[in-house]
Subunit: 413 residues, 2 copies
C-alpha cells in the first residue's frame, strides 16, 4: 500500500495526523505516541498496516484496562497489550486513507490560527496531568499562548437548558472572575457556557472556548458571533482538526480538556445527566478544586449541582469571590469572611446580654430584681448595667433601670 503524500517525519504534521487518526482520549494512541513520538508512531502504524501484522514496539507498555476504558469496544475483551494495540490499529487505519494534515493546517492558517504541540512553552501544562489521555496537539484560533491564559483560570460550565436564575448567577460569577484577572474557560455551548463567555467579554476579561469539533466550525451556529468575539479576546481551542464534527463522544472527551486546563471548575447549573457533571468529576479526579453553585431544590436545573455537593465532589460556591478562592493563590484570593448586619446587642458578653434581656420592655426594674431574672450576681448585674448605659442601651431612672428606646424590640418601639 502507498504511504501518505506528506512528510511523515515532520513532528508538526505527525502530531496533527494523530489528532485526526485517533479519537480524543484514545489512551492506546497516547501511549504509543509517548513512546515513539508522533512521527515514530505514525511510521510504525504505516509499517504495521503494510505488513498486516501487529507487533508491539520494544518496551511499549499499553495498559489493556485503560485501553478498554478509553472507549474501545473491540479492546474490551482482550487481555494482552498486543491485542489492545491490534484492536487500536483497526480503529486507526481506516483514517489513514485520506489522511493529509497539510490540508487541515491550511484551513487553520486561513483562520489565522496556530497548531500548538506539547512541549511548546505556550502549551497549557495542566493537560499533562491527563497522561496517555492528553491531546496530541491543540488547534487554536486567537491568542496562542494558552499557558498564559490558563495560568489564572476557572472553568465555568453548566447546562445548555439554563434557567434565568442560572444565567444571572453565571453572569455575576464570570464578570467577577474577569474582574479578578481570571480567564473564564467554557465549552462555547448554548446556555450557561455562552453566558460565561459573554459576561467575561463584557467585563473585559479573557475567555477560552474549548470546542468538541473543529475550530473552523463555530458550533453551535447560533453562537457564531459570540465565538468570533472569543477569538478576539482569548482563544477557540480544539484537539480535533478543522473539519471535524462535534460528535457526542467528543463533547465528553472535550470536557476533560476543560477540567485539566484550568485551575478549578465551577458548575453553575446542571441537571442529573448534564455533561457539565462529567467535567466536574473529571476535574475532581485530576485533583482540581471543584465548585457547584446551589439553587432552588425545586429546580431540576440545579439537581446535578446538589448531587455534586452531596457526593462531596464539589464545594458550595455562591459568588465570584468564592470561585476565585477555589482557583486562586492561597491568601491572595481568599474569599472575605461573611458578616451579617450588626445588631444593637452585638459584641456584648453573655452576662451583659442577659441583663439587657432581663430589662423589662415597659417600665423599669431594680438591680435586685434583675439578679433573679437574669440569673446573675448583684455585682455582675451592676457591671452589666454600666456597660449598657455606656452603649446607650439602658437608662437609669432613680434606683431603677429601663431599656433605652433603641434597645426596645422593634415591635415595642
Amino acid at each position: 500500500m502507498s504511504g501518505p503524500g506528506f512528510d511523515v517525519d515532520d513532528p508538526l504534521l505527525a502530531a496533527a495526523a494523530w489528532s485526526r487518526l485517533a479519537e480524543p482520549g484514545d489512551e492506546v494512541a497516547g501511549a504509543l505516541v509517548a513512546h515513539l513520538g508522533a512521527a515514530g508512531a505514525l511510521a510504525w502504524l504505516l509499517e504495521v498496516r503494510d505488513a498486516g501484522l501487529v507487533e508491539a514496539p520494544d518496551g511499549l507498555l499499553v495498559d489493556a484496562g485503560r485501553a478498554a476504558a478509553s472507549g474501545s469496544a473491540t479492546a474490551a475483551g482482550s487481555t494482552t497489550a498486543v491485542r489492545a494495540l491490534a484492536a487500536a490499529v483497526t480503529r486507526w487505519t481506516p483514517r489513514l486513507e485520506d489522511l493529509d494534515p497539510r490540508r487541515e493546517l491550511r484551513v487553520l492558517e486561513h483562520t489565522g490560527g496556530t497548531l500548538l504541540l506539547p512541549g511548546d512553552p505556550r502549551w497549557p501544562r495542566g493537560l499533562d496531568d491527563l497522561g496517555a489521555g492528553a491531546p496530541f496537539a491543540l488547534w487554536v484560533r486567537g491568542e496562542a499562548d494558552l499557558a498564559a491564559l490558563a495560568a489564572r483560570s476557572v472553568a465555568v460550565v453548566g447546562a445548555r437548558a439554563s434557567t434565568s436564575y442560572g444565567e444571572h448567577v453565571t453572569a455575576e460569577l464570570a464578570a467577577g472572575l474577569a474582574d479578578r484577572g481570571f480567564t473564564v474557560v467554557s465549552g462555547g455551548a448554548y446556555g450557561i457556557d455562552a453566558v460565561a463567555h459573554r459576561a467575561s467579554l463584557a467585563a473585559g476579561g479573557a475567555t477560552v472556548a474549548v470546542m468538541a469539533g473543529g475550530v473552523d466550525r463555530m458550533y453551535p451556529q447560533g453562537n457564531h458571533a459570540l465565538l468570533a468575539r472569543v477569538v478576539g479576546a482569548g482563544a477557540l481551542v480544539a484537539e480535533v482538526p478543522p473539519g471535524s464534527a462535534p460528535f457526542k463522544q467528543r463533547f465528553l472527551a472535550r470536557n476533560r480538556l476543560i477540567a485539566a486546563m484550568t485551575r478549578a471548575t465551577v458548575v453553575v447549573e446542571a441537571a442529573w445527566r448534564s455533561g457539565a457533571l462529567s467535567t466536574a468529576r473529571r476535574a475532581a479526579r485530576l485533583l482540581r478544586p471543584v465548585g457547584a453553585v446551589p439553587g432552588p431544590v425545586t429546580s431540576m436545573g440545579s439537581a446535578g449541582c446538589h448531587q455534586l455537593l452531596r457526593d462531596g465532589v464539589a464545594t458550595c460556591v455562591t459568588d465570584a469571590a468564592e470561585a476565585a478562592e477555589l482557583a486562586g493563590t492561597l491568601g491572595e484570593d481568599a474569599a472575605p469572611e461573611r458578616d451579617g448586619p450588626v445588631g444593637e446587642a452585638d459584641g456584648l458578653d453573655a452576662a451583659t446580654r442577659a441583663v439587657l434581656d432581663a430589662l423589662p420592655v415597659r417600665g423599669a426594674a431594680d438591680p435586685a430584681a434583675l439578679t433573679r431574672v437574669a440569673g446573675l450576681s448583684l455585682p455582675a448585674v451592676l457591671g452589666a448595667l454600666g456597660v449598657l448605659e455606656v452603649r446607650g442601651l439602658a437608662e437609669q431612672d432613680g434606683a431603677r433601670w429601663r431599656r433605652a428606646r433603641r434597645a426596645l424590640p422593634a415591635r415595642a418601639r
Copy 2:
C-alpha cells in the same frame, strides 16, 4: 436566713428547683447536680448561702473553662474550680428568694403536663450527650414519652423571616418525614419552624416544639393555635419552668436541646446569623448528622445554609428522602439513587454510540465511511450497526445505512 417552704429532699421538687435556679446550660450547676443529686445540690446551696462561705463538696470537679464558656461572665476570670463555684453561687442565690417549684408544678398540672426527670424511661436519652449542660428536668405538655417520640426524629429548623421558597420546601420535607414515621422537632417559632410543625400535623405525623420559655406560654402568641395542636399530636417541651420568659439567651440554650434530642438536624433556610445555624453547629459538635437545604444564592435567606455546606458542617439535602437518610437506620432509610430521563441512546456501549453519532443526519453512509468517521474498525462498525438496527435506531438502505427517524436529533426531525 430561712430555708424554702418546700421539701428540698424531694428529688422531683429539687430538680424542678434547679431548672429555675440555674440558667439553661449552666455547666457548673450541671456538674454540682451530677455530683450530689438535685436534692443534695440544693441542700448544699442553702448551706453555703447561710454560711456565707463557699467550699467545694468533696470530689467535685468543676472545669473552670467550661464554666466560663457556659456564659458566666464573673467566672471567666477565675482560674480555680472553687472560684467558678463561688461565682455560680452568686448567680443562683438571688433566685432562692422566691423559689417554690410546687407553684410551678401546679401550673403544669393545670395544663395536664408532666415533669420528666433524667433516668425516667421516657427521658430522651440523646440529651445525656450534653453532659454537664444537660437539662435538670423537662416540663412537658402533651405526650410525655419523649424517648419514643425522639427515637425516630429529625429537627427541621430555620429562619423566622422565611421566604415562600423556604416554606414550600419545609412543608414538603416535614410532610415527607411524617410519612416516613419521623417525629418533626422544631422550635415553635414563626417562619420555617411553624411550617415544619404545621406540615407534620397535616400529614398526621408526630411533632415536638421545644420552647425557650415556659410551656404555659404559647410563645409566640401568633402561633398559639398551632402550638395547642402540637400538644395534641406530640409535645411542647421546655427546660425552664412555667412562667419563664423566652429570653434571647434561652433561645440559644434551647437550640442545644433540639440538636441533642433528635437523630439529625436539617436547616431549611437561614440567613448569616440565624439561630438555626447554632442548632446545626451544636448538632455537629454532638456528632449528629446535619443537613442544609440549598437555595438560590441570590437569596440571603439561604446564605446560612450555604455557609454550612461550605464549612463542611452540613450535607446537602434536597428532599425528604435525603433528610430521612441522614436520620434513619442505615439501609432502611437510604435515599433512592437518582436517574435522569432515559434517552434513545442510553445503554449503548461507547462504540455503538460512536457509530450512531457517525450516521449522517441526512442521507446514508456505507460501513467503510463509518469506520473513518467513528474511528473504529469495520467489524466494530458492523457489530454496532446490528445493535442499532435491533434498537430501531438505524435502518439499512441497500449497502448503506441511515438513521431511523427516532434517532434523528430533535432539530432535524
